[in-house]
Structures are given as structure tokens and as C-alpha cells.
Symmetry: C2
Subunit: 496 residues, 2 copies
């Protein structure tokens, strides 16, 4: 941009990107590397950085720059860039610095204590810190809601999923609730008649790791621009130029670490595929968390658990973990599509996963809107777990409402993105199949180039140039259409 | 402190400590974890942070705060704290922001390219970046020299070794040059008659690592507040609350990684032993780089290579690397005190190491004072290497003047700290022996508590409360006395 106001905006947002780089890398370190006694100093340093980023994003000069840029003669791309900067600015300027700092410290304290409290099933101890996190999140939500003219919960969800409203989510999730329980029931019944050979462990961690690295190569992860490490809760962090994914290993189960790696590699390739020349500006960054999850879930669910992909990687599994009858390609496909309602979201299969999300959405919305208080969560959790998945969670907090990092970390409004991501992923897959009917044969033959080119062209390279709706329409010809997700599930699990 | 000006200074320097935390952790990551394509974004983020720290340290309000604090009724400890803050401030305020940023970027660029250029012996390519680094360092030196009323080189050395002047170094190093060559000659002659059994590799890296971790436990490294990782150039980084040391492994030589770990653990224990309640302020931080090196060199040279310590850890070596005749305790003591003039500083033995330092000091001082230019370095290097160590380095840049990270990274004036550290370490050791005559027997019995208590009380807990001279006088009853170093060497290598 040669226009002075827009140019000044670029300078400020480039600085913010560099600060975010620091936050992201030390955040990764905190989860993947840091010893326990480092936490207090780390939390203080991160809170200081949050305040600094907030100050930078809310500095008085920005209002004038946005006004000036609005009158400048900008290209369409430049206008998109300013629009995305403005979105970040509009959000930040509503929040006083003392709230941002208080949130950073309260979330860090709550999350750190939660790691121990969860192990000890200590809901009462957790509540002590968590009430403060909720109170501050409600303050944030109220301030953003007033500015956006939305409900409180929608104002938080909008941070992760710009433009999405809970009336939309209600409609989409309401539809899922109408057919999912029956689909789960039928699938479980059908699978109870299937023969499946269970893999026989132990699977040494070093071998699981080397297998994971091989699979990442198949998925064309760029190892010169990223790493694979270990953390309690797998995630994709770092920066677009240096993506850090993590997994966790258990000697008696190689499937979880393997699909965890496939999932995080999907996130990673999105980051590695963002438009490099714009990645320091909001317009060059990931569109939304739903789109981010669509990439990880496309990799894991559409591609990774498909019989064709499993057949493709079966020789690698044999090579790294040894020969077993369980590694027969047909059996692998059976293993990786088993459905079993359970307590833990991150261990849930593709079919029961949406039930976990719907439950969390309904609870966190009620919490943020003030319809319930933090202490009401367990009862609501127990009731919905029984209703949606037939699971009894009474008194079992560690495998119930204490299981996720999101709430202790103050992330309310994120959960819907997971199921939106599943739906976008299924829609992208359907669109690819529409223009490439022999996709399965290509995957079986190890040719993933059509898939990666499609994602790169339609999703990764676009960054945040378009709204989510527009991005999805341009990629697939229609806005979000959850019917693709249902079709995918019915095809995979009932063979319809 | 309840005095408002001093309290405001504490607030600012606490913020600076948090920024330094970020710089230190991502700096560690850059050396120990980062994949190559991450470097450009990392360098930009670090330069941005350097500018921010410089802005914070030079903000206009500080002058008033220092004036105000000078009139406040402070305790002696509080005055020491303000004195150390002021030292940092006086240095920073002389340097314009654009110079700080230009240095950060030029050093990062030069160091990054050097990693490849060194491998390719590419002195000409290196010069292209290095001239800029030198030009900027001279600008910095000139500005600081004018403010401090010192020579240019002394102004840079003062950053690492407050109060030390090159006339002192000339006197100390001049003395060393008068006796070291003869001591080396005699030692090499003496050792040529000794029998030594060489260890038979390979030594798998995982076994070297587990041995290193065991030795760190013997040395009481706190693993809840630090880590051991791998980097090309071993260092001690991180923050006092979370110390990151690194080493490097070679399958055919376990001795280098082992003594590297002992050395860095000395640095680490200094950091871990700093006064925790003051570590966020300059007065609670390490006194000088010479004192820092005195801790690592005490651990490595005074303790780690002593026959008693080697006898203590011999069973661990046997346990982790297998049984070998070379691991006999007498042979270990012989192995770890072998003297052989060579090209590489970091591989040099205790006796020839000072010659490497003196050479670098003489060259970098001439370079900073403008007596030579960057392109004159190889000739001067060749001449001094031949004169001090009898080594021919003509045309061999990678094992000559391209071997160290200091100059590409813009650190001029640091090298003398290594040999000052050796001297302080020997002086501390002599002082300990004065009050604890059976120290060797204690070490042999695995009782290191007197040593660690002495260091903790006299060095670690003191932080930067006293000047270096005062610290050393309080610990040993006299200021720096290089005679202890000479005595130690003559005792160890000639049995005098």
C-alpha cells in the first residue's frame, strides 16, 4: 500500500504480529517444555505482553488512521486488509487494560491449578479460581456485546467465529440433535456384529514417534518450518513460519497419538499454507477457528480415517510397529471407525463427538448469559451426558466438567467451532469429490496432490480475504450446508 | 521500598525483567529448537523486543525517578538496588533506538549466515555481513566511551565486567603470557611420558544424555526449575526461575559432552541460587560475566576435573557407558587433565585455554579501537596462533577466526571474562581449602555440601549487591589475585 494512513496501519499491525510471535512461542514452551517452577515468572511475562499488545492495539492514533484509510484510494485487497485490522481493533478498544491484565492472570492461575485439581477430582478447589475467570469473562462479554449489539455469548463466539450467531448454532445443532442419537444407536448395533482384531501393545513411544514423523511426511508437513513435540493436551501452536504441533503417547495405544498427529498436521498445513507475504497482517491469517478445525478434521476424519488412507499407511505401521494381524488394511479401517459413547471429548469418535460439543455449547452459553452459575455446571453436565450419550458422570468431575482446558483458560465460545469444522470439512470433501470422482483411488495410490492443491487454492491461500460465508461459497458453491456432514456420517457408519 | 520514586523504578525494572524473560526464552528456542525457516520471523520479533526494552529503559520519566530516589531515605540494600538500575539506565540512554534496532538485525543476519559460512570456510562471504556488525559496534563503543570517559573497548567490556579496564587486563594477561608458554611446554613434555588408556566408543547419545542427567543430580541442579537440551554451541540460557542449559553430543567422545554439562551446570546453579525475592531487579541478578564464568569454571575445572570428583562419578560412568579399563579412576584423572595445544577454543584444555582468550582479547581490542579492520583479522590470528600455541591456521578460517559465535553476534569485550572466571574460580577454591582442609576427602565421599554452601553464601545469594571487587574481597579476603590460578595450574599439571 502506498497510501500513508493504510501504510501506518500496516506498521502497527506488523509490530503486533511480532509481539504475537513472542506470545505464541513462549506459550508453546509453557505447554511443551517448561518445568513447573517456571510457571509463575512465565505467567507474569505473558500477562505483561498481553497488556502491551492491548496497549498497541488500542493506542489513540489508530482511530485517526482508520478514518484516514477509509478515505484513501485502496484496492479491493487493501480494503479487505484494513477491514480485518479494524475488526481486531474494534474488539480490543472495548476492553479496558486492567480487564485484559486481570483476565490473563486469573486464567493463568486457574489453568495452572486445574492441572492438579483435575487429577484430584477437586471441583470445589477449582471453583475457587474459576468463579473469577467466569466473572471476568462476563465483563468482557458485556462490553463486547454492547459494542456489537449482540447477546453476551455471541460477542465471545464472534472472536473465534466472526459473523456466527447462536441462533444459527441453535438451528444447526438442533438439526443434529434430531438425527444423531438414532444414528449413534444404529451404528453401535451394527458394529456389535462386526469382527475386529485389537492391536497388541505395548508400542514403544520412540516407535510411535518415528511412525508419526513418517505420516507427517506423507501429509507433506514442512519440517524446515515446524516441529513435533509432546504435551499433555495436544495442540498446534507457534507461528505460520514455524509451526509447533504436539501429541501425547501412551504405550498401550498407538491409534490416539497417530490420529492426533494427523489432526494437528491439518492445522499445521493451513498455517504453513497461509499467504506468506501477508501473514504478518490479519488479512493473511486463518479465517476462523471453525475453518481451522475444518482443516484438522478434514485431515483426520475425511482423509485420515478413510479406508484408502489407512491402506496407504498400513505398510508404515507395519514397518514401525511390527507385523500384526490387527494391521491388516480392512481391520485398520474397522478399528479407526469404531463408535463408542464415552466420557472424554478428546477421545471421542467422529460420531459421538458432536454430542460433546452440543453439551458444552449449551452449558457455556447459559453460564455466560447468567442463566446459571459456575456451581450449577456439574448438575447440568450430568443431566446432558445421560441424555445425549447415556453416560453417568455424577461425582466424576475429572472425566466430566473438569476435562477440558478451555474453561479454566477462559475460552468461552470456542466449542462450536469444532463441530462447524467437522461440517465444513465434510462439505469441502464433497466438493472435491464432485470435481474429482476418482479421489479414493488417488489416495490409495498415494497421490494426495489434488487434495492439497484444492485446500491450498480454496482455503489456505485465501487467509482472511473473504468472510467465512464467502470463502465457503467460493470454494464449494454454497454457504455452510450441514447436510454434507450427515451424509458423510451415514455413508461411513451405516453404508448408506 | 516504600519510597515512591524508588517504588516507581521497581515497577519499571520489573516490567523490563518480564520482557527480558521473553527475549531469553525465545533466544533459547532459537538455538535449541527452532527449524531454519523460522529464523527470519524470529529475528524480526527479537529486534522488535530489543527496541521495546530500549524504549522502556530510556523513557523520559526515568531521569526524574532516579533524581527523586537519590533524595529518598533508602536503606543500604535499597541504595545498592537503585545503583544497579542506574548502571543499566546510564548505558542504555547513550544509545539511540535506531542503533539498537540496527545492531539487533545486523547481528542476527550475520550470525545466521555465519552458521553456514563457517562450514564452508567462507571468510569473504562472512566479511560482507561482519563489516556492518563491526561498524555498528564501534558506534556503540564510541557513544558509551564518551559517556563513561573510557576507551572504546573498555566501554564495551564494562557491559560484561563492570569496573574492569583493559589496562588491568593488560597487566593480568601480560603476567600470564610470561609463564604460560613454559608451563604448557613442561606439561606436554611430562605428559608425553605418561600412560593413558583411551576410551573406546561409540557411546550412544541416549546413554551420554542419561549419564549427564545423573551428573547434574550429583551437582544438585533443580530439574523442577530447568532443563537440559541440545544445541550446536552449548550455553546456559533461560531465566533464573527456569534455567535452560544445552550441550552437544558426539558418539565417539563422551568427555566433551560430560564436561560441557558440568560447566553449564555451574552457570545454572548460580542462576538458580540468585536471591529469588530480588531476581526481577538488577541487584538480584548475576554480578558479572567473569563471576558467571567463575561458577561454570569452578564446577568444571576446580571440581569436575579433580581426581576426587572423577572417582566419585566413575561408578556412574561405568553404569551408563559400560565397563572399560579407561574408566579406572586414575586413568580418568589422567584423561581429563590431558594438555594439547589445538585450534578450537571450546575444545581447549584448561592450560591452553587462556592463550585462546589472550589472542581474542588482543584482536578484538585492536578492532574496536580502529587499529585494524575486519579484513586484517586472519593475518593477526595466524601470527598469534603460531606465537602462543604453535598452530598453523593459515587459510583455515572455520577453525580459526570463524570459530566463535561472539563476533558474528556482536559481542566484543566478552572474551576476557572467561579467563577472569578461571582466576576467580581458582581463588574461590583456594579460599574454601583455607577454611576446609579436608575438602578433597569430602568430595571423594560424595559430600559436596560445604562447596555448595560456600558458593551459595558468598556468591549466589549476593547477586549484584556489591561491586565485583567487593564481592571477591568479602568472599576470599582479597581482590582478584591471579597467583591462585597459576598455583592451581602448577599443582595440577606439574605436581608442584
Amino acid at each position: 500500500m502506498t497510501q500513508p494512513f493504510a501504510q501506518n496501519l500496516i506498521t502497527t499491525f506488523t509490530r503486533l504480529y511480532r509481539y504475537a510471535h513472542l506470545a505464541s512461542m513462549v506459550g508453546w514452551d509453557q505447554s511443551a517444555m517448561m518445568p513447573p517452577k517456571g510457571n509463575e515468572a512465565r505467567a507474569a511475562a505473558l500477562a505483561e505482553l498481553q497488556v502491551l499488545m492491548h496497549q498497541t492495539l488500542t493506542s489513540e492514533s489508530l482511530e485517526g488512521l482508520f478514518k484516514g484509510a477509509a478515505a484513501e484510494n485502496l484496492t479491493e485487497d487493501e480494503r479487505a486488509s484494513v477491514r480485518e485490522m479494524r475488526r481486531h481493533w474494534e474488539e480490543a478498544r472495548r476492553l479496558p487494560e486492567r480487564l485484559v491484565e486481570a483476565q490473563s492472570l486469573a486464567q493463568s492461575r486457574c489453568e495452572h491449578a486445574w492441572r492438579t485439581q483435575r487429577k484430584h477430582n477437586d471441583w470445589q478447589g477449582f471453583l475457587g479460581n474459576f468463579r473469577e475467570v467466569v466473572a471476568l469473562a462476563r465483563q468482557e462479554a458485556r462490553l463486547l456485546a454492547d459494542a456489537k449489539g449482540s447477546t453476551c455469548y455471541d460477542a465471545l463466539m464472534d472472536k473465534y467465529e466472526p459473523g456466527m450467531r447462536s441462533v444459527d448454532i441453535d438451528r444447526i445443532f438442533g438439526d443434529v440433535k434430531s438425527w444423531l442419537p438414532e444414528l449413534i444407536r444404529k451404528t453401535v448395533a451394527k458394529q456389535s456384529l462386526e469382527t475386529v482384531i485389537q492391536p497388541q501393545g505395548p508400542f514403544p513411544i520412540s516407535q510411535q514417534r518415528s511412525l508419526g514423523l513418517e505420516i507427517m511426511k506423507v501429509l507433506q508437513f514442512d519440517f524446515d518450518a515446524g516441529r513435533l513435540d509432546v504435551s499433555t493436551h495436544p495442540f498446534c501452536g507457534g507461528v505460520a513460519e514455524d509451526v509447533r504441533i504436539t501429541t501425547r503417547y501412551s504405550e498401550d495405544d498407538f491409534m490416539r497419538s497417530l490420529m492426533g498427529i494427523v489432526h494437528e498436521t491439518g492445522h499445521a498445513r493451513y498455517e504453513q499454507g497461509l499467504p506468506r507475504e501477508l501473514v504478518h497482517l490479519p488479512v493473511g491469517q486463518a479465517r476462523s477457528m471453525g475453518i481451522h478445525e475444518s482443516q484438522s478434521l478434514f485431515f483426520e476424519m475425511q482423509l485420515g480415517r478413510s479406508p484408502q488412507f489407512l491402506a496407504l499407511i498400513a505398510p508404515l505401521i507395519n514397518e514401525h510397529l511390527g507385523q500384526q494381524a490387527a494391521f491388516d488394511t480392512t481391520n485398520l479401517a474397522t478399528l479407526f471407525s469404531r463408535v463408542k459413547p464415552g466420557l472424554i471429548r478428546v477421545d471421542a469418535d467422529e460420531l459421538t463427538y458432536p454430542a460433546h460439543i452440543i453439551l458444552r455449547f449449551e452449558i457455556e452459553r447459559a453460564l455466560i448469559e447468567g442463566e446459571i452459575e459456575a456451581e450449577d455446571i456439574p448438575a447440568m453436565w450430568d443431566e446432558k451426558m445421560m441424555s445425549y450419550l447415556g453416560q453417568d458422570t455424577r461425582g466424576n468431575f475429572q472425566d466430566g466438567c473438569l476435562q477440558d482446558v478451555h474453561w479454566p483458560g477462559g475460552s468461552f465460545g470456542y466449542f462450536p467451532s469444532y463441530t462447524l469444522g467437522s461440517m465444513y470439512g465434510a462439505q469441502f470433501s464433497a466438493s472435491m469429490r464432485g470435481s474429482q470422482p476418482d479421489l479414493d483411488a488417488q489416495v490409495l495410490a498415494g497421490n494426495l496432490s489434488f487434495i492439497f492443491s484444492w485446500l491450498e487454492k480454496h482455503i489456505w491461500c485465501e487467509g482472511s480475504r473473504w468472510s467465512t460465508d464467502e470463502l465457503v461459497k467460493r470454494a464449494t458453491g454454497e454457504a455452510l450446508n450441514p447436510a454434507h456432514f450427515r451424509q458423510h456420517l451415514e455413508r461411513r457408519y451405516l453404508g448408506l
